[in-house]
Amino acid sequence: MTLRSHDSARPVPPAARNVPALLLALRRAGFTGSVTVSSAPGGTIHLEQGLVTAIETPGAPTAETLLLKSRRVGEADWAAAETAAAAARAGDAPGPWGGGLGAALVAQGSIGATELETVCAAAVFDGAFALVLSPPGSWQVAEAAAPAGIALRPGIEPQRLFEETAQRVALLTRLWGPPGELARTRIRPAAQAESRALRIPDRYREILIAATGRRTARDIGFALGRGLFAVLLDLARMDARHLLHREPARPATGVPGVAPRTPPSGPPPAGTGPLPRRTPGVRGPGGQSGPGGPARPGGPAAVSDEPPNGHRAERTETTENTEKSAP
């Protein structure tokens, strides 16, 4: 159904104060298309008959990421399904799945229909949850936009999404703290969690391995192919068992930590400056690779002090206070 204003032939999205109000209005109108929200991060909400069939946002893994990163479906199988779906699209009307990709996955035996529906539904709720953690932003409505890669049909009622999302925010706040802050906090295992003798579920162990200290809960979700809210809940449970260390948030940006520059007393000599330079024709004893010989640096290359993943166990604890896992 197209929404039209009285005076023009162009369809007009309903006036709304915010995205939830917009989605309810679009549900009443039985709208098919997409709502793209601009925020940090934003996302795209796909609608069919006003029901939410998929959500894409940097804040949460899509169904595709959930399936591939958890290794539930292999990359080769996924590629085969995409090929089959593209071929089918050229022919018949779309089946019960967006673009036929879901049907192709089920038809080729990569996953059962029931299981796939649960993963797609979980991804929609997770995307909605991630979006409410973003600051409010502007939106654009596009009618009959291209369907998402893999979509749930029929989609989810917006009202149900709002209710579940509100419950999730309340639950996390009660268990751990403000979810927006938590989703952006970088996590690593507490010292006592590194013991192999620790008796914890496999799921927690996987999170501990993935928690490099650089990764937030959202990053861990993408790395493991698990939902943002699922990871946050598990982290809350793990925190209650003192398994985690939360990296303190970095100080507010905008002030680069650089000393004021003193102007040079004459024209700078050729060949010096802040950037490393190559010296043509000279080879160092180490046989540095690359044309033109080794660098004659203007300054040592600066590398962040976090060790690669593999050496995490060897690193000594450098923070002075072990952060208590207070909720």
């Binding site: 029931t114 529906e117 649960t118 579920p201 698990r226 699922a230």
Partner: protein, 119 residues
């Protein structure tokens, strides 16, 4: 969610099953419920309970992962079966009429139904 609906109808069709729900074991998201599922409580409650018991069992030294929980009242058994999968597990929760089924049989049947879900 048509396949999901069909799967849960099958579960409801098993002898003695008067209510059923399929829920995410980690988040408690209710995917589908049917029949007299109110006795089971909310999905979030089922997930929280399952995680709590599973965690405590681990701490106490139990091997492996939690498989199922049974709560028995005067007229019903509530059976919560963990459905493991490659990814976050599911919970298949059923309410059984004690007059129409016995627990051993019911546990066997829910195990079969749980397997069918992922097929």
């Amino acid at each position: 969610m048509r396949a999901l609906e069909a799967s849960l109808s099958d579960v409801l069709g098993s002898p003695g099953v008067v209510g059923a729900a399929l829920v995410d074991a980690v988040t408690g998201l209710g995917y589908r419920s049917a029949g007299e599922h109110r006795l089971l409580g909310t999905g979030a409650e089922l997930a929280e309970l399952t995680n709590l018991i599973g965690d405590r069992l681990h701490e106490a030294g139990a091997e492996g992962e939690l498989e199922s929980l049974v709560v028995t009242s005067t007229r019903h058994h509530q059976v919560v079966r963990v459905v493991p999968r490659q990814g976050d597990p599911l919970l298949l929760a059923t309410v059984l009429d004690r007059e129409r089924t016995n627990l051993a049989l019911a546990l066997r049947q829910t195990a079969d139904r749980a397997g069918d879900l992922l097929a």
